[in-house]
């Protein structure tokens, strides 16, 4: 048995497919590649493949960790090469490393995600300076309440503790007029903040709502807790 951790990226072509679609896509691609996927034991065997954190629809990603168990050992570089030959445009395996079978499951260790956020406000006259001020105001808030729809209806939660870092980026040159924010947010099973929620809040503060289909999001990397700081997962 071999446990491999691999990283994949997702481009614009595939932002509309769901987490479960990606799972199916990866499983089928691995089978086509002839990778010896291990399965769970029992009544209904499932491939032992998991993704660190579900990737929301509409978001591109640079480096999403995932892990897989294989029946036979193969070299990580061969695994990546065979895998990539079976993947459609829009998804690519960046690299893979062998990890110890004793290491905790990836899903349990993920604590934070780094996003590049490109908002686009309805009113094009909003200046970068105004947006920068808005960002500063958000950072100084002690509580940020958002409404989310759960299984038991709507509920309110405070996402302020989940915003680890929020920054307005200065763009020079060609992309001068393109707004860019960087967000480092808590994510995972213990709760988290969503970039869209923060952009919506910003839009409300600026008096110009964010048009959802014009918001571009890129997840740069996922992080695990490491003492007082974080390291890439």
């Amino acid at each position: 048995m071999q446990r491999l951790q691999f990283y994949f990226s997702r481009g614009e072509e595939l932002i509309y497919i769901s987490h479960l679609d990606i799972m199916r896509l990866l499983q089928r691609a691995m089978r086509r590649a002839g990778s010896p996927l291990a399965h769970t034991k029992g009544y209904n065997p499932q491939p032992r493949l998991s993704i660190a954190a579900p990737l929301p629809v509409g978001v591109t990603a640079k480096r999403e960790p995932a892990e897989v168990y294989l029946e036979q050992n193969i070299s990580p570089s061969n695994f990546v090469e065979d895998f990539n030959r079976q993947l459609p445009r829009g998804i690519l395996i960046e690299d893979a490393v062998e990890i110890s079978e004793e290491a905790p499951p990836l899903m349990q260790v993920i604590d934070a995600a780094l996003y590049q956020v490109y908002p686009f406000f309805e009113e094009s006259s909003i200046s970068p300076e105004k947006v920068r001020d808005g960002v500063e105001k958000i950072k100084h808030k002690e509580e940020i309440t958002v409404r989310r729809k759960g299984k038991k209806g709507w509920r309110e939660i405070d996402i302020r503790p989940f915003i680890y870092r929020l920054e307005f980026k200065n763009n020079d040159g060609e992309e001068k007029n393109k707004l860019e924010l960087e967000m480092f947010l808590k994510t995972g099973s213990q709760g988290g903040a969503r970039p869209g929620e923060i952009v919506n809040l910003l839009g409300e503060m600026l008096g110009s709502p964010q048009l959802p289909y014009q918001l571009r999001l890129n997840r740069v990397a996922l992080y695990r807790r490491d003492g007082q700081g974080w390291t890439p997962a």
């Binding site: 497919i17 089978r31 086509r32 009544y43 459609p88 959802p212």
Partner: protein, 588 residues
Amino acid sequence: MNNKVDVDQINYLLYQVSQPSRYVGNEWNAIIKEHQQVSLKLALAFPDLYEVGMSNLGLQILYHIVNQKKDFVAERVFAPGTDLEELLRREKISLFSLETFTPLQEFDLVGFSLQYELNYTNLLNMLNLSGIPLRSSQRVEGPLIMGGGGCAFNPEPLAPFLDILVLGDGEEIILDIMKRMQKAKERGASRKEILIELAGLEGIYVPSLYEPKYESRLFTGIEPLDPQAKLPVNKVTVDDLNEVPYPSAPIVPYKQVVHDRGVLEISRGCAKGCRFCQAGVTYRPRRHRTVENLKQLAVSLIQNTGYDELSLASLSSSDYPSIGQLVRELSAEIPGWVNLSLPSLRLDSFSVQLAAEVQKKHKTSLTFAPEAGTERLRKVINKKISEDEFLEALDHAFAAGWRMIKLYYMVGLPTETDEDIEAIGDMVRKVIDLYRRGGYREKLKLSVSASTFSPKAHTPFQWEPQISRQEMRRRQKLLAKALQKMKQVDFKWHDPFTSCLEAAFSRGDRLLADVLETAWQKGCRFDNWTEYLAMEKWEEAFAEHGFSVEEYACHRFDHGDPLPWEHLSCGLSKEFFIKEHQKPQGAL
């Protein structure tokens, strides 16, 4: 609306709809060609949602065959969900193909798959969303609109909207049609000239070259308007399935579709002669792929898709001549993680043993269709299965480990009495008793579903009326009562109005086209989805043209009456159908 829909527009649309993965294209094995490199473009159109259309084998077969040709391209288009429709209309964006986001009107040929009468409003809607005039007579340019598939054998309610119809197997004729169109295009032939030329091909019906006649709105016959218009039009069939291409690299959807697995068509046609069944007639004769051919196809299909399930498809898979050998040899050939499934099983012990042999991993559920509750009624419909055989098969199924059984029945069959319906309850009780006697520890789950008999064109029961909606509800109640004390049973029945519409359109004449167009104008879409079916709009549409749904659905034809679909032939004579219709009278 002349150019391709651009990426920004697509993004703008997809961000705003639910289930955007229906519209992204770019799936594994999808084929994308430069349009400058081909001389003829076909859009394969399916008048239902992506997840339904992508489960259709015919679509994958034709996609594969046409795209194998260097000069041709085939792309896909499905009915957009109501949310996307709203956006397309608001933003004045044409419905587009998934491969290259090309508007439908840019194609040379648009081929609709006609699988179900309740998709017809979607067909009109898709034409309209593409800026294509609905009626053949209004179209002076743009693609030819073609229809094929099961419902093409009575296409009269759609006749004014379609330029050509294909009767029978599409594998060979699709290329004949495209080659003729390619040549006609080169020499600059007119639309009418092309249609007349295509009408000369075996299997092609060009509705505009025929004129139906009526007397006080009752169909009296049809007249050809051109020497090329054949009478009757015969269907085409592929002689040897092994000789025609099969999609061993089908498109693998991202989204989970209705049949999310590899499909191997092992046979075409059916050995049975159920008198209500249209597929059993139109897919004649029975043909099989060889074990050798299927083994090769199975191996490459799994390699090319990565599917972990392979379904052996046919109208009755246990009737494949060497099914045992096929299953054993396939199992030996394909990887261990592939699960074989046999979808349409005969109701006998042999089939159950076979199913047990292939479904090694997890035994989900077994589905059987006894159709009727008494042996008398099963004889009337020619479903040859005795109660003893039925119970013996189930006994085997329980012993092999199945705990979930689905039983399909039909209510409203010709000659049905209340006793026949109550007998369904007895039959189900015997199943429960049988299970109890077996002393199995787990709970038994029985799903019983009752559809309503809808008479179909080209079947021995084509003359028979459907029961009224009121009567459907009465009989459903009777059946529910017969099953009510059995807590193992989950009873489902079909919506009466759905059955009623299906019956009206499956035997309808050309006068129904106006009703259909009116219903579409009133907003009818996705009539096969109960949450969308708008009964009142449909009833208004019928009434505005002076009809009622029941007038069509509950009509009894006499053997001497001209039938609106008789100019189309599936290869069986009227005498045969009359004989088959009269046979069960002795069983009354």
